[in-house]
């Protein structure tokens, strides 16, 4: 894993978007794994800006989202389909038919999960998977004890997740208790993973996930197994990391980051 500390959340989001844009320019048919949540909103704002101002082209891009609530129709403002349209897809030149989320309205959920995995494979697998981390250490909705080899499936949400995400619903009672998520194993199959973590509230769990032992209690810790994982954080989220000095030294010296330094 490579870890980069940016001065603030906005610059962390900008760097994350720049890494995605670079990959998309190199491979216009990029298969992009997407995430939702507050942290991601500024990543998407930056991608929209780059589409508008720099001609960043999404016309051949395909996307797969990590997760979706069970029982919310796509036009429900709490659904992740709505979130993605609202924050990204409506503002860029993407063919919405090339944007995929798990089907939270499927009658036969296990087979729709299998279809989702097969579709990812048919597209050649996810090139870059964007990730955030939950208060309980989840990636996707892989709540504590999710198997490190788990695949796309339906899961029940942890009470802490319900408490955090419930605030995004007009009526918190409307928030579904269950969701479909890519598994930890599905996420680890992505060719690259990009974890973005910002804010003081995430400092503790980030340190555990990145510097602690790998455990299914913190599904983000599985990223330690990933051969090409980059973690972008802001100062606040980095506060509890023991290796800060080393991470900064790496950022200043690794040629891979040269074009992003001092921006």
């Amino acid at each position: 894993m490579k870890l980069v500390i940016q001065p603030d959340a906005e610059r962390a989001a900008r760097l994350t978007a720049a890494l995605i844009a670079k990959a998309l320019r190199e491979k216009p048919q990029l298969v992009l794994g997407l995430a939702t949540g507050r942290t991601m909103e500024s990543v998407y704002k930056n991608l929209v800006r780059m589409h508008r101002e720099e001609g960043l082209d999404f016309s051949l891009c395909r996307t797969f989202n990590l997760d979706e609530y069970i029982g919310l129709p796509p036009d429900h403002p709490g659904s992740y389909r709505y979130y993605m349209n609202h924050h990204l897809f409506n503002h860029i030149n993407i063919d919405k038919r090339n944007t995929f989320l798990p089907d939270g309205m499927a009658e036969d959920i296990p087979s729709s999960c299998l279809c989702y995995e097969e579709r990812m494979e048919a597209c050649g697998g996810v090139d870059i998977q964007l990730l955030g981390i939950g208060a309980d250490g989840h990636i996707g909705f892989n709540e504590p004890l999710s198997a490190l080899g788990s695949r796309t499936r339906d899961v029940s949400l942890d009470p802490s997740t319900l408490a955090v995400n419930g605030t995004l619903f007009k009526n918190p009672e409307e928030m579904p208790r269950r969701a479909i998520t890519m598994g930890v194993g599905t996420i680890l199959d992505a060719k690259e993973t990009l974890l973005l973590v910002t804010g003081a509230a995430k400092a503790g769990i980030l340190a555990k996930a990145v510097e602690g032992p790998v455990t299914s209690m913190i599904s983000a810790s599985a990223l330690q197994f990933h051969p090409h994982c980059r973690t972008i954080v802001d100062e606040e989220a980095a506060a509890k990391l023991e290796g800060q000095a080393y991470y900064r030294w790496m950022f200043e010296n690794e040629p891979e980051w040269a074009e992003y330094r001092g921006k």
Partner: protein
């Protein structure tokens, strides 16, 4: 009140349905019905009689037709051209200017803007400025007398008169790399044309947001085995969109097949590049003030024989690619509308699915236009 198009051979990107019906309401596609589904009552009905019902064509490169040029002083010109475009099944188009002095371009844009606000035919979705920042060695049928250095100030002044959708210029000319960035930042599509850039120069432009080639293969660096040029760039770079004049003159059938074989189909944009003789018989015409002779449908400068736009009609272009490539219609309709909509970010155009703008063309078996609907209303 809703309109119902019945007995349709419906073709939209990724979709081909026989015996389908389309319900149009408030200018949009409301619903698609498969064969034998129960149809709503009380609609105004149009019987497509098994004809092909496809998204209205979007032609992003049109200089003229019916004896008129969009750059003509005649304020009626754009309207006459737009009405002729509608008869070809084109529901949206980009009037395309030539290399002319700024005051002449400004006058053209004032005429275009007047038409755009009160259209009587095909809708204007922004102007295409072809030139004047092109390479004098590749001027083709553009008037070299008015070539000049790229000037974002000029673009801004013109864009203030009427929206500029895209600009064709030569990336290798001095200052045009920076100009690319400025165009992108202003939300105007950058397209490389009338150019002898190397592949390396084009790649540098790509880093500034360039991702498009104007009338592919024509007036651009040929493919050579030691320098693949812009023809090579267009074939090699999946992300680059290419305009194609599929009249079998500007691109021979084998070149059309090669492009369809090499590139993601989403990056192929059919255009006509039509000049004023379009819709009229062979004879003597002009293009931007230069004398042109049209013979057997091929328009060439009287002076040097350079191709001077085409007399291609869009429905014929579609027929040509269907015949030349043999690809499924559900794929080919991307190249006539949907790709253009993605390229220029034209919202809700280019597909016949619920929520999309009901701009629809109906073609018979011979690809002749049987009907055209714009914003859900039958216009032809």
């Amino acid at each position: 009140m809703s309109t119902l198009i019945k007995n349709a051979h419906l073709v939209s990107p990724g979709v081909e349905l026989f015996g389908a019906a389309l319900e149009l309401h408030n200018g949009r596609v409301k619903k698609v019905f498969a064969a034998k589904e129960k149809l709503p009552a009380g609609c105004e009905e149009y019987d497509a009689a098994g004809n092909m019902v496809i998204p209205g064509f979007i032609d992003v490169h049109v200089h003229g037709g019916m004896g008129f040029e969009v750059t003509s002083d005649d304020s009626k010109a754009t309207g006459i051209i737009a009405e002729a475009k509608l008869r070809e099944g084109v529901t949206s188009f980009c009037p395309t200017t030539l290399t002319l002095p700024e005051e002449k371009l400004a006058a053209s844009l004032r005429n275009i803007e007047a038409y755009r606000k009160a259209p009587t035919g095909s809708k204007v979705v922004g102007t295409h400025l072809e030139g004047p920042y092109i390479n004098p060695e590749c001027a083709g049928a553009q008037n070299p007398a008015y070539l000049r250095k790229a000037d974002m100030g000029e673009i801004r002044r013109l864009n203030a008169i009427s929206p500029v959708a895209l600009v064709t210029y030569a990336i290798e000319m001095e200052g045009n790399l920076a100009f690319t960035g400025e165009l992108c930042a202003a939300g105007i599509k950058a397209s490389c044309g009338h150019t002898n850039a190397t592949y390396a120069q084009f790649k540098e432009g790509m880093r500034s947001g360039l991702g498009r080639l104007t009338h592919f293969c024509n007036q651009m660096t040929k493919l050579h085995h030691r320098e693949i040029g812009l023809v090579g760039a267009g074939l090699m770079e999946d992300g680059v969109a290419i305009e194609m004049i599929c009249d079998k003159i500007h691109l021979c059938p084998d070149m059309i097949r090669l492009a369809f074989k090499s590139k993601p189909i989403e990056k192929l944009l059919l255009i006509t590049d039509a000049m004023e003789a379009t819709g009229l018989p062979d004879g003597d015409y002009q293009l931007g003030g230069l004398a042109v002779k049209v013979s057997a449908g091929a328009a060439r400068l009287a002076s040097n024989g350079a191709l001077a736009g085409s007399t291609l009609q869009f429905n014929t272009a579609f027929k040509n690619v269907v015949e030349v490539t043999g690809l499924p219609l559900a794929q080919l309709v991307k190249t006539t509308s949907w790709n253009q909509a993605l390229d220029l970010k034209l919202e809700n155009l280019g597909k016949l699915e619920p929520g999309y703008i009901a701009d629809i063309t109906v073609l018979d078996d011979a690809f002749q236009v049987a009907a055209v609907f714009m914003d859900g209303v039958r216009k032809l």
